[in-house]
């Protein structure tokens, strides 16, 4: 074995290298405490979901639970004749599929499904349903630096865990301390909307979309429209979605779709 000091555990991208993954997997498989895993590797394993998945995957492979390395696989594909499926179909099933009654029934079923789908498409969709269809809380794009953002970090964790009620409590506390922080305001509004408190989310989204060159202008406008939709204020929602539809941003197409469905 090489000198311990020279051993490299990470690759150029900062993830565990092949050998460290193999070593870690061996440690898990054998439960051999004499296999030393450096604390930096353990810390990375706990932090990095990708490396953790890689290790667990490899453990499955060496434990023979998975069959990734199956040399027979390719031979099997090549040796199986292409039409074997048809040959394998049981005569009884084939008989059913080929029968006239089956074909007529299938056509009738397709026609029925088509009519049902057309009815649903034409039928005006309720604002509540549209909201459910189009709303998903904004993804977490926050990078937290320093200890000053502790409350924000706490709130974002709850937000990521979809514990919106708890997130509201933490974001509100943070908002009381720093009411000018756009991140807090935006994610508080999202948590409120996700918790069906659209009326309380509206003023926050409104303020954010009014800000000049604010980083949440565009998404706030979209969520404002959705908030109105949730509150069943269709006229106001339509006005907001018309505005979004006229702009060219990632929400324009969705706004157009909603407007069509509201008409």
């Amino acid at each position: 074995m090489k000198d311990k000091q020279k051993i490299v555990y990470f690759n150029s991208r900062g993830h565990l290298n092949d050998e460290t993954i193999a070593l870690f997997a061996k440690r898990i498989m054998t439960n051999d405490e004499s296999i030393e895993i450096p604390s930096s590797v353990i810390a990375h394993f706990e932090e990095c979901e990708d490396c953790k998945t890689e290790i667990l995957d490899f453990v499955e492979v060496i434990a023979d639970s998975f069959d990734y390395v199956t040399p027979l696989l390719k031979n099997q594909i090549e040796s199986e004749p292409k039409k074997s499926h048809q040959e394998k179909v049981k005569p009884k099933i084939r008989q059913i599929i080929l029968s006239r009654t089956f074909r007529i029934c299938s056509l009738a079923a397709i026609l029925l499904v088509f009519m049902a789908v057309s009815w649903f498409v034409r039928h005006q969709v309720s604002p509540e349903r549209l909201f459910g269809q189009y709303f998903s809380p904004y993804k977490n794009v926050i990078t937290i630096k320093g200890t000053n953002d502790k409350k924000l970090a706490e709130g974002m964790l709850l937000y990521d865990l979809k514990m919106y009620d708890s997130a509201i409590v933490v974001f509100t506390e943070a908002f009381m301390i720093d009411s000018l922080n756009r991140d807090i305001k935006f994610y508080l509004a999202n948590s409120l909307l996700a918790s069906e408190m659209a009326d309380e989310a509206v003023p926050l989204f409104y303020q954010l979309q009014q800000e000049k060159n604010g980083k949440y202008n565009i998404p706030s406008n979209w969520f404002l429209g959705l908030s109105y939709l949730k509150m069943n204020e269709i006229d106001r929602a339509s006005l907001v979605f018309k505005e979004i539809a006229e702009q060219k941003n990632s929400y324009s197409d969705k706004a157009k779709q909603i407007l069509r469905k509201l008409d």
Partner: protein, 293 residues
């Protein structure tokens, strides 16, 4: 032919572990990548061949279940055939739903698993029989109970694998998970944190801490109170000075990783709530039972 990139990876061997294991790791990556490329090509050019490629996976999943439920043995061929047929009919759906960034094998595995469950449920409707009980009483035997039991055992096995993968921080994870889930933390759990070295706590002190850790309920406040109580013990064991919020965040992060692993790799459908139920059952029926003397 081995590519330059693969050769470079092989050349990076440092002697930390057995070469064969290291080689297997790289080989696995190459095979997975090769298989993925082939799958994507076949998905558009020859779907039938693609499903045929995964036929052994269907056989394997069906056989695993039949091993536990042998009464399904006579239906084995029919079930495999039916799953195969159903998969073939899903070409259009797969073309629409499948995201090529995802590993196709994992994606298809989820579908095959679901098909397998459906197939057993369908067959189960026909297979109901009476079995004599040990005491001589007759009772209706429902194979679906056994099937559910099998699914639970399989999930426990995977979850146990996740817990064990934490090697030296496994005991810390167990305690932290129990704190979050409001599961009773035993004296044994606490002493295990210190492995072979002295904790500095007397047995009585650890017992008192263990008793106090049952209060607070499942609210955020309750969880943080419990982390506040356990923090000095964890810090002593870890030789660290971590605050309760950091322990809470760390545990939540591990929960998210576990949920993603179970869902993405094993085709399950866990969220925080259902994982909680799984973990509670795991500790109650499996983990803690190993250490009851």
């Amino acid at each position: 032919m081995v590519s330059v990139a693969v050769t470079k990876r092989l050349m990076a061997y440092q002697g930390m572990t057995d070469f064969l294991l290291f080689y297997s790791k790289i080989l696995k990556d190459v095979v997975v990548q090769y298989s993925q490329d082939e799958d994507l090509r076949l998905l558009h050019s020859d779907f039938h061949l693609l499903i045929l490629k995964y036929k052994p996976l269907i056989d394997k999943l069906v056989d695993e279940r039949i091993r536990i439920l042998p009464e399904f043995e006579p239906e084995r061929q029919d079930m495999i055939q039916q799953i195969f047929e159903n998969l073939l009919s899903k070409h259009e759906t797969i073309l629409i739903q499948y995201d090529s960034e995802q590993n196709f094998r994992n994606y298809l595995w989820k579908i095959i698993k679901n098909e397998c469950v459906n197939s057993f449920q369908r067959e189960n409707k026909h297979i109901r029989r009476f079995v004599p009980m040990l005491q001589g009483n007759d009772e209706i035997f429902d194979p679906s109970d056994f099937y559910d039991d099998l699914v639970v055992k399989e999930t426990f096995r995977i979850f146990d694998g996740i817990i064990n993968s934490y090697t030296i921080s496994k005991k810390k994870l167990v305690v932290c998970l129990k704190v979050i889930l409001s599961v009773k933390i035993s004296l044994f759990d606490l002493t295990q944190l210190f492995n072979d070295h002295q904790s500095g706590y007397s047995r009585k002190e650890l017992e008192d801490i263990s008793k106090n850790l049952t209060s607070g309920g499942e609210t955020l406040r309750g969880i943080l109170i419990r982390f506040h109580l356990i923090r000095p013990v964890l810090n002593l064991a870890e030789k660290a000075n971590t605050d309760e919020h950091s322990y809470w965040r760390w545990t939540n992060q591990q929960i998210i990783h576990a949920i993603n692993y179970l869902n993405n790799k094993h085709g399950m459908n866990f969220d925080r709530e259902t994982l909680k139920i799984l973990a509670e059952k795991y500790f109650e029926d499996f983990y803690d039972k190993q250490f009851q003397f």
